[in-house]
Symmetry: D2
Subunit: 351 residues, 4 copies
């Protein structure tokens, strides 16, 4: 079968790999239907997690169950299923403690296109399938369902961890796909005022579409100042970091009122340190809390996210700015790196 792989650091391409046939007692094999390219795929190829050889890329996909291990009972061959980017084992210490994204070790729940082949192939293998596979409801098309794999789960987690009081105020820094879902998630958590921070015109527009009451363009004004003005000088109850940069992280701490919460979902890829502004943090005594998260996985999370699609609460498809066949994935991949043509998420079709 064809697989789109990281050949080595900095190099991608198609490879021919054998169709998987043995899922093991607890695994499953899925035939890929649609997938999304993620910016983190480009980080991986750039060397963020070190060297890999012919590793199949991709961690956002839905498909059809091709075969199941002997111990897997809750889905059937032929079911249309979604699987999260994070596939915990659900039996190691960290999983049993409840921190499934940290399966076995820190960030270890992330297995696809990291420690095992990813989903950009005609078939992919899912570990611990009983806990990780969710059937997609009939009314939910693949093109929507695929957003549950990472974008909705991660972005919403940003909002959930932000502990937004009903009617409270929240600032979401950066309106890429995760930030946009954090904006929408904040609305869905009952925020009374959602302030999106972004400078790119298309993303500013999408931010409003997904529920931002106010959009602050940090190229035109000081974001922290603007947030304070919009909140009668108080700062926000909660700030969500959806970029992974020193400037936005720092602004999150500054813009949050005492007792508030900074919820980080951005991937911080650079430097030895991410720095907390000492005075904005109240010299360590401000009752401000800094939370972090890696995309929550597992079949229950997936079912709940799919229910939001099924019941019409959420339509993430305005983020699908481009669509490609699998044979054109290299173009999608390149565009995701350059962010050209206003790309947000490119959808890949496998049939």
């Amino acid at each position: 079968m064809r697989a789109f792989v990281m050949k080595t650091i900095g190099e991608t391409g198609f490879a021919d790999k054998p169709v998987p046939t043995d899922p093991g007692p607890n695994g499953a094999i899925v035939r890929t239907k649609v997938a999304l390219v993620c910016t983190s795929d480009t980080h991986t190829v750039g060397g963020a997690i070190g060297e890999r050889e012919n590793l199949t890329l991709g961690h956002e996909a839905v498909g059809v169950v091709e075969s199941l291990g002997s111990e897997v009972e809750s889905v059937s061959v032929g079911d249309r299923v979604a699987v999260n980017a994070i596939t915990p084992c659900y039996k190691c210490d960290n999983c049993v403690r409840g921190y499934t994204s940290q399966c076995t070790e820190m960030l270890g729940g992330w297995k696809f296109a990291n420690v095992r082949d990813g989903v950009f192939a005609e078939y992919f293998v899912v570990n611990d399938a009983e806990a990780n596979l969710a059937r997609i409801p009939d009314g939910v098309p693949d093109e929507k369902a695929v957003y549950t794999c990472d974008m909705m789960s991660t972005g919403f987690a940003g909002a959930e961890n932000a502990r937004i009081p009903m009617g409270g105020t929240v600032a979401v820094f950066a309106q890429g796909p995760v930030g946009l879902m954090a904006t929408l998630g904040s609305r869905m958590q009952g925020a009374g005022l959602v302030i999106a921070v972004e400078s790119m015109p298309q993303r500013k527009e999408l931010a409003r579409e997904f529920g931002a009451d106010e959009v602050v363009d940090f190229t035109e004004t000081d974001a922290v100042e603007a947030i304070r003005e919009l909140t009668d000088g108080e700062g926000v109850d909660s700030a969500i970091e959806a970029l992974g940069a020193q400037a936005t992280f720092e602004a999150c701490v500054e813009a949050t009122r005492p007792g508030g919460t900074i919820s980080n979902v951005g991937y911080h890829g650079e430097g030895d340190y991410v720095k907390i502004p000492r005075l904005g943090w109240g010299v360590g005594m401000s009752d401000k809390t800094i939370n972090t998260a890696l995309c929550p996985g597992g079949k229950v999370r997936m079912k709940r996210l799919l229910r939001l699609l099924e019941r019409g609460r959420v339509d993430p498809t305005p983020m699908t700015t481009h669509t490609f066949g699998f044979d054109k994935i290299e173009t999608a991949f390149r565009m995701m790196k350059t962010k050209e043509d206003g790309i947000i998420k490119p959808l890949i079709r496998f049939d």
Copy 2:
């Protein structure tokens, strides 16, 4: 000034009372603009809290600050203000512990039309005004703002205490004004499926308007059975009791899945006991939690609820089925007792 009072158990009428002039160092005097009649006012007159003599009724009103105590700084004379039905002192043990609705003693945060004169008068006095008064934003009319005093605060508390997971399932039992706000509140807390239980046609319709995905009519079907069917046999993550009756409380426990939450906001007015079904409760080992609440008050709560009105998140006015001048309040009061003419909430105008 004219005040609408409970003369004695079972008897209401107008009384002439002196205009209040001394708010004390921590109090405030407010000139009433609009008010809402609550079913609990009729319970009070019926004897629910014992005998009272010429007690001014009412606990839902907005108005204009007429005078302020020497220690009150955060609002000014002439400000249009909202005050919650619950007005805690914020300095007794229970308040300092954080349970302000239980000010001084159980349910003691409820002072208006209970231990002091209520709001159905041309002027009313607010205790501990610094902590209890919130300025109404310019864009929010009195007719909306008055819903923050009780209906929105209580109904939303039902949803907040229900600990609904993002995309989770919730059943709201009874769709009176508190139940309707619990339905809306459940949507605003991220529920993926909101099931309203109700039999009156107008309330069923309003339930859908306020966000119910499904409406179960318990006169046509067994509500618990219907909820199980709508949730693939699992039961709901959360159930909200918004009536205060044995049958609905019991159904809440039965309809909730293990590990789920039953959130009670209904006032239970009868019998020595409210009974938990032993088996539905998993013989006391089901990880089900039963929460309770009395309308959360205080100026921060009010500001957040007012923000939801200001930002257009919530429009409670479809619940205002009737409007009366203050001189006709007796009619409103009688209708609230009989529930005739499909009444949900009658609004009273004081000017």
Copy 3:
């Protein structure tokens, strides 16, 4: 091998069963070393969970790993291990939601001597062993370790769920082995005043030994009154129900102050309802919370409980009032039913 079984409702005895040889890919076989008899074993024989035929009894035991399934890696053959009374699968919906005691269905985490053979046999089989088996540290003898299987886990859960504020007040109703561990657990959660409610002299004495500051004998005084007096009329922050009876449950609700928590760990075996006193519950508006729990299991819980033994925090062995060889288990079982001779927990030796 010999197994001590429930032959049918009301009848126990020894049976000869084949030594288990195939643990399946995810299971383990353990050679039993010591066990404890639980009152709930006698309930089972009495018919509490319905008819069973030749079901091996017992759910509290430690032993040595005899063989392991192919997928089990975290313990080795020959390891001395503890396994909780509750053995969740860690992959069904309820487990993945985090409610592992409710595995698959309400109370479904309880498998030993319920839906599969228990531990009163020379060997027993553990399902999903990777998530359920914990190695016993060298310094911890079997006689202590066996208390982690149920008594410590359940009793401490009673205290943990009680949400006791640091320096707060707690009442623990009934001082059987679970209640005694709830008393100790309350001390370990930072309670400033622990009030044990009990009438049997030996248990009253043990209650003090395990950390009760005050012991209230409900045969000599009204327990709720006494608790109010000991708390300046306030009632306790938290009450723990460790018996499973209407009188104690009701007293828990009455004795708890507004905003406090009632934590139920007692098994309620009788009647259609467990009844909440309506007024003591503040007509459903007192901010009182009622929690429930079934013995938390899983290897991480076990490791933490074993650590408390290893570090000398806890010595549960004063509860071991009697010791028997496996051949005399019938005597232990009978005594556990009659509670004669001041029995708290009988320890059974298998070698």
Copy 4:
């Protein structure tokens, strides 16, 4: 009356001030009995909060009520009382939100020897006394009670915010008086393994006395390495920062396992930033949480801490290494700055 004041930055001395006579309607005047000097007093004199003129120093004291405002009811003239270092107003937005240490503005709950005269004088004035004064139980001597004002409240808050699982592991960085109380507090929260990090011999010894299982001397070994070894390579569930330094904060993040909690109670006095190690923080995706706190105040907190003294749970007096009359406070103050003679806390007597 005599008052020990900060004359200007870098200069202390006695001043003669009028005895306060008017507490205002909500205040109280207290005659000082005993006090403790805090390292933060020396920071204040050093300029940490800017210039002050003849500001009375000190925020840890107990005394006797001399007079009360008209609105204060819960204590009486002549009562022996404790008041926390933090004295919130309990009516501003932040207080009403529940973040009383952040009264009015960030860290604004800290008023004594900051925005109003402190307690190192023959009399001192307490704002909002109804919410802030707690009667000292008869059996609790002043010399113990005075530790509730800051050391116990702050140190225990470090442990409470650390969210230590029952039987979990915790590391406490630095064993000054706050760190020692965090060590004790960790034991009282049910920790199974408490690791104290400290190098000064006397403090290492006190750490063991207050409940540390292991003491790591960072001058002899790498603290993070040592903590990992003591926890089977996992790291601790919780780390408490009780110093306020980059090195210890950083070690806290590194030593904490994924999903764990870093609880900061140290005052960070230097630099523009407090830096999070990026990789140890899991690039912002490790599910690690960073909490902060400023000494929780209010009468309920004080009552609970006093109860722990009354019931013999806690004896903080081993920290009182030196005692002085008020006339010798300058010596105490100097020693607290130099930390000479193994000083931990100097007690000051006013009679």
